[in-house]
Amino acid sequence: MPDLPDKNAIEVHGVRKVFGTGETQVAALDTVSVSIRENEFFTLLGPSGCGKTTLLRLIAGFDFPTEGEILLYGDDIAPLPPFKRPVNTVFQSYALFPHMTVAQNIGFGLEMLGKPKAEIDARVTAMLKLVKMEQLARRRTSQISGGQQQRVALARALAPQPKVLLLDEPLSALDYKLRKEMQIELKRLQHETGITFIFVTHDQEEALAMSDRIAVMSTGKILQVGSPWDIYDRPAERFVADFIGETNFMDAEVISVAGDRATVKLLSGTDISATFPAGTTPDGKVTIVVRPEHARVVAASTKSALSGVIENIVYLGTDTHFHVKLADGSPFIVRQQNSRSGPCGFDKGESVGVDIASDVAQILKD
């Protein structure tokens, strides 16, 4: 993780957003608080309808919170209209002005700010260079490809040098390869401009690949905020663990807690060590998660934490998934990386052991 300054660019305090009235009332955001640091690539991640886009719209000023405040470097911007906020947006549909050229689109924000023409021209040229679109300055936006439109939308939003750049699922309209390219491109742009990025996506892979920190959202609430590593390896809640990557849930019982580690007994009778979310003290019956790549299928005769029967083997090129039915009847998935040494050596229906690497289990909040 890069060294981030502790200054907060955006602070959201107790923001609620309610749509509709009376019985049809829906809380799109339910008392959300979050701080986004200066110069950070921050991602709001969640399924559709979780409130991530609503939160972005409140920061942009396209909507106003029912309750709570939104601070931009300490000033409450929640009541300001969008044109008075030093914050720019890259829209999902790009929203490029079809009656203007690429250069005119990029210069629009600066023009509206009343900057002198020479400054606008210089800045537009610099932005075109930044997004590698110098040759297409005079084109109409309808005459360029989707990926190019994406770059223009980025350049247009970055040109006025906003304090915060908001990105509303900007990569979702691109095909897989272009999306991968733009992920790297976005990281580069964020690094070069030094602007705080707030990125909205429902794609967990995208979030893990680009973010400094991620906020996982569900039904109007922020469930967990942390680095990609935190979110993936130390999920605090079932939803977070389930939404990001594949995972195995297991029932267990806490035996002892020492420092930041707990010892839990699995249904199979084996004791393993597990981490738990900061600020909680696990006890009694708990749910633990183990990522599929942190377990290994071993011969039944080998001493292992779990045992079961292989129900299915899925070969995926880079790795192989073993769907194992454990002795207690619950399913367990193991992901093993493939080498060129040939087939895995196990068969469907074979009784096997499942070994869990040390220190990979995480206890969830109740």
């Binding site: 000023g61 396209f62 969008p82 044109f83 008075k84 929203a95 490029l96 700010l113 939003a157 006025p160």
Partner: protein
């Protein structure tokens, strides 16, 4: 085998189509042909001549009525288009609410209320104002025409606005454009084809109105259509055919222009 189900293969399709086209266009063709008759009958062909066009051109009453028609139509079309643009913005740039449909109906009222009712109502209304103010200029006709032209201008503008991406206006606001700048720099340029289409439609509708004009006009305020109606009550000469032919060309020209402008939108 979609062709087998094509409506064009239904029995009698061709016959009905031909009857419809003949009924629609034969009278117009005959009208245009007799505009070039050298004799003074609109039924007996006596040879080709442009004399009736010349006569109409030299008829001061025709020229005067034509100018009056054009002036009223221009003013009414512009006023109606401005009103219609504002109405269209107000009815598309809000979240749907109760009574919105009612408001559509209200704006399109002239399409539903029989013209003769509006005509009588305006006659009574304006005559009071005439007595009270003493003003008897073209203003009444312009106002009346504006009123019934609004829905014709409104419909293409609204259609254009509904097809417009609202995110564009949001993007402009995000890029520091005030609401007025957003309207002038984004909404208006994108709406322009719709506004032009509305303007032309309103112009053509105003140009050939007879009923309301006849009721509302003061003495000496004949428009071209009411002048022609007056003439037909006396002697019918191919001069009327000649005027109609020119009128037809003008309307067809404007409607064609309208067609090309609306096609350019895509």
């Amino acid at each position: 085998m979609a062709r087998n189900f094509s409506i064009q293969r239904q029995t009698g399709f061709t016959t009905i189509a031909v009857i419809c086209f003949v009924a629609l266009y034969a009278p117009i063709v005959i009208l245009v042909v007799y505009a070039f008759n050298s004799g003074s009958s609109i039924a007996n062909w006596e040879g080709f001549s442009l004399r009736w066009f010349a006569q109409a051109w030299n008829n001061n009453q025709v020229i005067e009525a034509s100018w009056r028609s054009l002036r009223i139509a221009s003013a009414a079309a512009v006023l109606a288009t401005i009103a219609a643009t504002m109405a269209a913005l107000a009815t598309t740039r809000t979240a749907p609410y109760r009574g919105l449909t009612f408001k559509y109906a209200f704006i399109n009222q002239p399409l539903m209320v029989p013209e003769i009712v509006t005509a009588v109502a305006l006659l009574i209304f304006f005559s009071r104002i005439k007595v009270a103010t003493g003003y008897s200029g073209l203003g009444y006709l312009i106002l009346a025409h504006t009123a019934f032209c609004i829905p014709f201008a409104y419909l293409p503008i609204r259609a254009r606005l509904e097809g417009m991406d609202l995110t564009l206006e949001r993007a402009a606001a995000d890029l520091y454009a005030t609401p007025w700048q957003t309207f002038r720099r984004i909404t208006l340029p994108l709406l322009w084809p719709g506004i032009l289409a509305g303007l032309m439609l309103a112009f053509v509708i105003s140009l050939d109105d007879v009923v309301i004009t006849n009721f509302v006009k003061s003495g000496g305020q004949d428009t071209l259509p009411t002048y022609m109606l007056g003439q037909l009550r006396r002697a019918i000469t191919p001069e009327m055919n000649a005027i109609s032919t020119v009128f037809l060309l003008l309307s067809v020209g404007i409607v064609t222009l309208f067609f090309f402008i609306s096609r350019k939108q895509d």
